[in-house]
């Protein structure tokens, strides 16, 4: 039981933080299919920074792990600028540019990982090895039945994500900036006539989605494989999109969707184990969250309402 909760949370929370970035971006009216690419580039930057620092120092310490997390945010954010330029500055088609960003990031990070491994570390590999992310146990709380499991041997990044998520929630719903972000997604003209700069707001929201995707990607790299490799691209970015759509672009409901996906994934593995299937069948388990997505889609599609101005390019003199 404990491990079910632990594994599920370790998957659900990175997904959640990526989805929050998506809520900012799409909430401001910019379609974001680029989350997959953004999380990969974030993880690449994080992994690279970790590898470089650890070769420099010859050892690994906990503080480097946190440093790599910061680098992953920077990487995701920088790559998101590229998308923002395409989608906002050059008014390119948002669906196509999002997909292009994804394809670009897959090939670019694979290529760079190979090249850098060779030139910097003299190895022929497309992986950056990472350390194990530290885990903590919160005394007393871990004794509470059921939810206590969450406080037992938890990755520290889970707490970091929760803290960031709370801040992101506050900013989105309680500050003028957040209110403008949401308003831009509904009716950009209203924001413009109220005297704010629609394109600036959207640009920043896209960058935020890159930063959040960077964190999420890095945490996946730590928790799932303890390395960065191009196998990070297995569609978690798209799953995050599904999560915030189920969550109706609201942060609270999105958390719920992420938890469902997290538990679905863990149960998938459990089923493979329980049926004593050969380990090659674990790929089958990986399909479980996506099947859950399909089923949920069938039942709940009617209730989803995307922001009204989603995908609408803002033009000052549009009538």
């Amino acid at each position: 039981m404990n491990s079910i909760i632990n594994d599920s949370m370790a998957f659900a929370l990175p997904l959640f933080i990526i989805a929050i970035g998506g809520i900012y971006c799409e909430g401001s009216g910019v379609i974001n299919l680029a989350l997959e690419g953004l999380l990969g580039v974030g993880a690449f930057f994080g992994g690279l920074s970790f590898a470089m620092i650890s070769t420099q120092l010859g050892t690994t310490t906990n503080s480097m792990i946190y440093l790599s997390l910061i680098f992953s945010m920077i990487g995701g954010g920088l790559f998101a600028i590229l998308y923002a330029l395409l989608a906002i500055r050059f008014k390119a088609n948002q669906v196509i540019s999002g997909v292009v960003i994804n394809m670009l990031s897959v090939s670019l990070t694979a290529f760079l990982a190979n090249q850098l491994n060779y030139s910097l570390f003299g190895q022929a590999s497309n992986k950056f090895m990472l350390a194990v992310f530290p885990r903590v146990t919160v005394p007393f709380l871990n004794k509470v039945p059921v939810i206590g499991a969450f406080f037992n041997e938890t990755y520290v990044f889970e707490y970091i994500i929760i803290a960031i998520a709370l801040i992101m929630w506050f900013v989105l719903y309680k500050t003028p900036y957040g209110m403008s972000v949401r308003a831009c997604g509904d009716n950009p003209q209203a924001v413009a006539t109220a005297g704010r700069d629609v394109n600036k707001i959207r640009f920043s929201a896209v960058i935020i989605s890159g930063i959040m995707a960077g964190i999420g990607g890095m945490c996946f790299a730590y928790s799932i494989s303890t390395n960065f490799s191009p196998s990070i691209y297995v569609g978690y970015g798209y799953l995050a999109i599904a999560a915030y759509i189920f969550g109706n672009y609201k942060i609270g409901q999105t958390l719920l969707a992420c938890l469902i996906f997290g538990f679905a994934r863990t149960f998938g593995y459990l089923i493979v184990q329980a049926l004593a299937l050969p380990s090659t069948y674990s790929d089958l388990a990986l399909t479980f969250p996506y099947i859950v997505t399909l089923v949920l889609l069938i039942f709940f599609s009617k209730n989803f309402t995307a922001p009204k101005g989603l995908g609408e390019v803002y033009e000052k003199s549009k009538r």
Binding site: F170, K174, T175, P176, M179, S180, R182, A183, D186, N187, Q189, A190, V191, A192, T193, A194, G195, R196, D197, K308, K316, S317, K318, R319
Partner: protein, 512 residues
């Protein structure tokens, strides 16, 4: 020297193929109500958008309180205390009234001395106070998408007042309102002036100008024609100046003999998805050569009747017959083909595809037929354009690039003319007009009224739904009054006075 709030000097603005403002100079005094009058497409909205920083003029200067300014964005306009209620509202549909009003100027509070957040309680209180002070009743916590148009308009006005706007621009504010609401809006506008605000009012309704405005500038095809002192000018004089020809404000109608029954509606009822009854048990007939009007206060089920006849919404019960045959089983396209033309209320969302060129919009109901589409399913755009040019000519649709113009860029009135032209050209036996003259200038209204009379003479059956009692009184053979979805009376128009219709509309009597 007089105390001017705004002076526009030699403003010129061109769009591809059209001069929207041609060397326009107007001065607006502090504390006056200044009306702008002009035909559809004369350049009124463009001029005001320049003043509000949405368009940049090609030439000319703007002075505010004697100082030259350049207004490059709405933000600048806000800072200069200029506010505008646009022809199409600009509100965030899923936020509350208060949130919309404070957007861009939010009151803040501090938590624990350092975390700043929006003080939504204070916002609600301030909005409630403001709304009380100016007699603009709203509930600050209602969500925009749940409130009617007239309330949305009040929100737009409050939005300007909240920012301490001193110059308030209203772009056709009365076009979306019912008659009673218009009167209260005009009262509000007057009281705003008495509170020291300066107001620019765009409207096509001459009597509204007569009622509230101090001065009135007349634009025609981008040029300033004249500036009148409203007290000294007659409405006839204003109309003539604006259209550039003599206009008959009174209309004459010939007797037309009724023919066969065209439309027969029996016991029509409709409940919306929340099971609220919108129309109940409505029955009527329309004959060839007859204009039947449905009068009623906005939102009493008129539009639902029209929508149910075209199958835009599915009637809950009842039968509809066209030319003797039941059409209940037919879908929208089949009904249109069977002989129903429809001019919908919401021209931007239902009537047009805004980003398509005019020639495609004008053939939107026939493109699948020869000659527009060959036997092999290939579209023939030359035919589209040939027919479009004819309609543009006949209905005087004005735009920058003729049939190639993107509909979105056309002025509101000309968009409406395009729909009317398309539907009349279908030559259907029943034509449904919902608010056909909303937002049109007097000249264009005159044209459409003549068209309706002509169609009646040709033996078409016409269902007219309008909020304008004058229009109903002038055009109808039969008047049906609807009140909360129920028929109050169906009478020969000759036997009803305007006042009586008004009383039925308020649900005072019930005759049915």
């Amino acid at each position: 020297m007089e105390d001017y709030f705004v002076q526009l000097k030699h403003i010129t603005k061109t769009f591809p193929g059209i001069v929207a403002n041609d060397d326009v100079s107007i001065d607006i005094k502090k504390g006056e109500i200044y009306a702008l009058l002009g035909e559809n497409g004369a350049g009124k909205s463009t001029l005001m958008s320049i003043l509000f920083g949405l368009y940049e003029p090609d030439g000319g200067q703007i002075f505010i309180k004697g100082k030259e300014v350049s207004i490059t964005s709405p933000l600048k306009a806000n800072k200069l205390n200029i506010g505008m209620v646009h022809q199409h509202f600009k509100l965030v549909s899923d936020q509350t009234i208060a949130e919309n009003i404070i957007l861009g100027a939010e009151p803040m509070k501090k938590k624990w001395g350092f975390i700043k957040s929006i003080d939504i309680d204070r916002a609600n209180k301030e909005v409630a106070e403001l709304s009380k002070r100016y007699n603009l009743e709203v509930n600050p916590t209602d969500i925009i998408k749940d409130i009617p148009v007239s309330t949305r308009q009040r929100v737009e006005i409050l939005k300007m007042l909240y920012r301490n706007a001193e110059l308030l621009i209203f772009d056709e504010p009365t076009a979306v309102l019912a008659p009673q609401e218009i009167n209260s809006l005009l009262e509000i506008i007057k009281s705003l002036r008495d509170n020291g605000k300066t107001i620019i009012l765009i409207t096509h309704k001459l009597d509204e100008i007569k009622q509230v405005a101090d001065r009135c500038a007349i634009l025609c095809k981008g040029k300033l024609i004249d500036i009148l002192d409203v007290k000294k000018a007659s409405t006839q004089q204003m109309a003539n100046l604006m259209v550039g020809r003599e206009i008959e404000l009174e209309e004459v109608r010939e007797e037309v003999k009724k023919g066969k029954v065209v439309l027969e509606v029996e016991n029509l009822s409709y409940k919306d998805k929340d099971k609220v009854s919108k129309i109940s048990d409505v029955s009527f007939k329309i004959y060839e050569g007859e204009v039947l009007s449905i009068a009623g206060v906005s939102g009493n089920g008129q539009v639902e009747i029209a929508d149910a006849i075209c199958n835009m919404i599915r009637a809950t019960s009842g039968t509809i017959k066209l030319n003797g045959k039941s059409i209940d089983h037919m879908n929208i396209r089949e009904r249109a083909e069977a002989g129903i033309a429809y001019i919908p209320e919401d021209r931007q969302n239902v009537g047009l595809i805004l980003d398509f060129p005019l020639y495609e919009n004008l053939i939107l109901k026939e493109y699948f037929r020869e000659p527009y589409c060959s036997k092999h399913g290939i579209l023939n755009f030359n035919e589209f354009k040939k027919q479009s040019n004819e309609l543009i000519e006949n209905f005087d649709i004005r735009s920058g690039k003729g049939c190639e113009t993107t509909v979105r860029s056309m002025s509101g009135g000309n968009q409406q003319k395009a729909i009317v032209a398309r539907e009349i050209a279908l030559n259907s036996s029943l034509i449904i007009f919902v608010q056909p003259t909303r937002g049109l200038d007097v000249g264009a209204i005159d044209n459409i009224h003549n068209k309706i009379n002509e169609l009646r003479k040709q033996g078409k059956a016409i269902l007219l739904i309008s909020l304008e009692l004058d229009e109903i009184m002038a055009l109808s053979d039969t008047i049906l009054v609807l009140y909360s979805g129920k028929v109050q009376t169906i009478e020969d128009a000759k036997n009803l006075s305007k006042n009586q219709v008004g009383e039925y509309m308020m649900g005072v009597h019930n005759n049915a």
